[in-house]
Amino acid sequence: MAVAAEKKEVKKIIDLGLEEGAKKLTPEKIEITINNALAAMGGARLDAYVSTCIHCGLCSEACHFYLSHDGDPHFSPVGKVKQTMWEILKNKGRVSPDSVKKIAEIAYTECNLCRRCSMYCPFGIDIAYIISSVRRICHLLGVTPQYLQDTAHSHAATMNQMWLKQDEWIDTLFWQEDDYRREIKNLTIPLDKEGADIMYSVIGPEPKFLAMLIGNAAKIMNVAGIDWTFPSFDGWDNSDMAMFSGDQEIMGRVKRAHFEAAMRLKVKRIVMGECGHAFRSVYDVGNRWFGWKMPPVPVIHAIQFYYELIKEGRIKIVKKFKEPVTLHDPCNVMRGRGLGDMARYVVNAICEDFRDMSPNKEHNYCCAAGGGVINCGPPWKLKRMEGNRVKAEQMKATGARVVITPCHNCHSGIEDIIGYYKLGMHTKFISDILVDAIEVPESMKAKK
């Protein structure tokens, strides 16, 4: 029967990646590519999911897109699967170039692969996996959003997300070291220190736009007396947009560079900055492509790291943050790693007035930026904003002034939402607050 519910008229968005990509397609090419892709995926998992889904719609309310569009079924998880994967399967791959464009738009810009819906489907059907499979097909068809594709190219060419040249990376570290030496005596950002305990890794945007986060990390490391290092060579970037564009080969390659950097430096573990998707890529997605069941070197998210530093007294909190704060739980370390309690421990330790969001922890709403959606760039920003009214409402209800977002995608995505819905708040990373809250022993302070 498949009744089409009316969908709000939206202004046509032009994305060169989708447009030009679809132009190169012919029905034959689509059919062959799709069927090869499905065969290569193996199909058993997909088959199990498709045969099990009872079309009950119980997953709908999991999705912030659905909730924010007042229950428009086009945006429900199963609704999106219907418009993409079912469409592909039903037609046995015989879909038109225009449909491919439409399918790509849904898969890339209307789902954050946040996995909330697997917690709402009684069968635990992994919609994010299905949508990822759709993205894989779109990648193979060459119909991907321009900006996301560009980021995937950057990963492929430079092993980082931002087209950063090797000298720019190294120079940023030197610059941050110089800067923070004015505050901490002999603060070092050790490069290529073989045998250090920890390799700290970050995502490309840190050296590109947010270099002081690297300085923050260096200050925390130095004050806590951690034996750490950065690689000066490729592999320092833990992020992975190729994972979201559907280019699994590049995803695997980027992960390999990352792990091999750690193994070459003989570190015991990788501690990564406050990023969620990067954690997912290193911890339980990207590693699998090259046959690592778990990361060959343990991977620890910043939240866990701060938690241990504070809990074990490696750093002392002396100046708590006063303004009311709330915490946005990043999907990829909540559903992705169950760090809800640790995050709250850290936030409570460094802030005086913490107001929790509801729902939270594993049940949080996604920021709508994750899953590569924000990386689809400016053309899709408005759509992303409209797709997450519930987050705005949820944040507003806390009455907080500051939203702590221990994830880069969330950080930018939430800042956008705050601006769009005029919430009068702003976002901070944990480390932004932590650096000012910790005690710097007199002996470590630089002479002014």
Partner: protein, 465 residues
């Protein structure tokens, strides 16, 4: 990059010791045949430097490095006026710099590093800077035979390579994956020949990357170019490429193998100038020799290593998903490991193979950033498929005795280091330690270590370790 460049130019011999070796270098590390025989194997104990005293003398002492023969220890140090220099055996270089990094020793005991002065970067060798200066310099590499130093450079917004104080003539939009030939006379790198506008995905997909050998680019472009390798005679270059978004190819001297793959890893040359590379085919990964599969398939195969006579091939493989081991000439060791296995090392006679392996009892539990988890992340050495009885917090590359009968490695236990021999931790623990070196007869081990704030060079009979 105005200087002209002649590859025949004489270059200074330097060894590769001191830099962490990339995990999958295509050419085996060649430390120079007689290096060991020239060392002092008679003096049992030498206190070379009081490193604690340096710490009181300088505002800051950065990590130490020692020479191959153990006779020298050095570090980048900061003077009270916030300038930096290098201190060797207690004696600082006269010249001071604004910044110094990438400090390492050559086997002649020369100290090489990258230095910054008056906004210009260059290489300093034993305190003497190169003539050429750059806006930026990084990735200091020493040729496999130790005969020259190569670096990545940036000048006037152009990227390039400088090999032995001779920069490439042509500059590029980007240069990565520098690879130096084993005789140290040639350098290859992947280069971007065109600068692209922001988010120009279309031209990128047309291909702007290629390989430049001694600064001269191939005439064909690729979407991506990654790992490179020189043939042992330095006359051929192989590259790992992607020719469109989906097809991967091995390219030798600009010519593609007839077959493309779903994925490839960096190629390397056999002793007979054949090219070998891990490639992904429908059933999994295999090694392909000049385009023909010779092994496997396995779940994964990493780039191989060869015995010194070139007769045997060994590579890290995953024989099932998430289980790693070594395959020698295509047959995998029975024992597999959960976390990782690192590159195989052949004994000098090529009969034995050793590798680092890591195992975890409960790999799903990666709980702590500050502590080890009981039973997890245990490192050890596996020799011919049999792991050592003892495991360690960390272990460094295995070193074979000249006759291949003994395997030694630097090992870490509770933050201290020892020399482990044939699976047993040495008696003495040190605060810092460098990898053991066997005497030419294999009866003694050179132990380069720091203990009690002093740097020592010990020559220890094998049975007293």
């Amino acid at each position: 990059m105005e200087a002209t460049q002649k590859s025949e130019e004489k270059v200074q011999p330097i060894s590769k010791q001191g830099i962490p070796s990339p995990l999958h270098t295509a050419t085996p590390l060649d430390r120079g045949k007689d290096a060991e025989s020239r060392m002092d194997w008679d003096t049992k104990e030498k206190m070379i430097a009081n490193t604690d005293e340096w710490k009181s003398r300088y505002a800051e002492v950065r990590p130490f490095n020692v020479s191959e023969d153990g006779e020298k220890i050095g570090a980048v140090v900061q003077n009270d006026d916030e300038t930096f220099t290098v201190c060797i055996n207690g004696n600082p270089w006269e010249e001071t710099y604004e910044k110094i990094w990438s400090f390492k020793f050559t086997n002649e005991g020369k100290a090489a590093c990258l230095v910054l002065k008056d906004n210009a970067w260059t290489v300093a060798l034993d305190g003497i800077p190169w003539n050429e200066k750059f806006d930026y310099a990084w990735n200091l590499q020493i040729a496999p035979n130790g005969r020259s130093i190569g670096i990545n450079i940036k000048k006037d917004d152009q990227y390039g390579v400088c090999l032995g104080d001779k920069p490439w003539v042509q500059g590029f939009a980007d240069v990565r994956n520098l690879f130096i030939s084993s005789d140290g006379t040639k350098a290859a790198a992947s280069v971007a020949v065109k600068r692209l506008a922001e988010a120009d995905i279309f031209n990128f997909q047309k291909g702007v990357w290629t390989v430049a050998v001694n600064g001269v680019p191939w005439d064909k472009n690729f979407v991506n170019v990654w790992g490179l390798a020189f043939s042992p005679d330095g006359r051929h270059v192989a590259a790992e490429t992607r020719i469109n978004l989906y097809d991967y190819a091995v390219v030798v001297d600009g010519n593609m193998w007839p077959q493309t793959y779903k994925c490839v890893c960096e190629p390397c040359f056999t002793a007979k100038n054949n090219v070998i590379a891990p490639v992904k085919i429908a059933k999994g990964w295999t090694l392909a020799l000049d385009g023909k599969p010779i092994w496997g398939p396995f779940i994964q195969v990493w780039p191989p290593k060869f015995s010194s006579d070139g007769q045997k091939i060994a590579a890290v493989v995953a024989s099932e998903f998430g289980r790693w081991t070594i395959a020698v000439d295509g047959s995998a060791w029975k024992q597999t490991f959960s976390d990782t296995v690192l590159d195989p090392v052949f004994s000098p006679d090529g009969k034995r193979v050793a590798a680092i392996a890591k195992e975890s009892k409960d790999p799903m539990n990666m709980g702590s950033s500050l502590h080890s988890i009981e039973g997890n992340d245990r490192w050890t050495i596996v020799v011919d498929g049999i792991p050592w009885n003892q495991d360690f917090d960390m272990i460094w590359d295995p070193v074979f005795s000249p006759d291949g009968s003994t395997v030694a490695a630097k090992a870490e236990i509770n933050g201290k280091y020892c020399v482990a021999v044939n699976g047993k931790a040495g008696k003495k623990m040190f605060d810092a330690l460098w990898s053991p070196v066997f005497s030419p007869r294999g009866d003694k081990i050179l132990v380069r270590c720091i203990g009690g704030g002093k740097y020592y060079r010990y020559v220890v009979p094998l049975d007293e370790i």
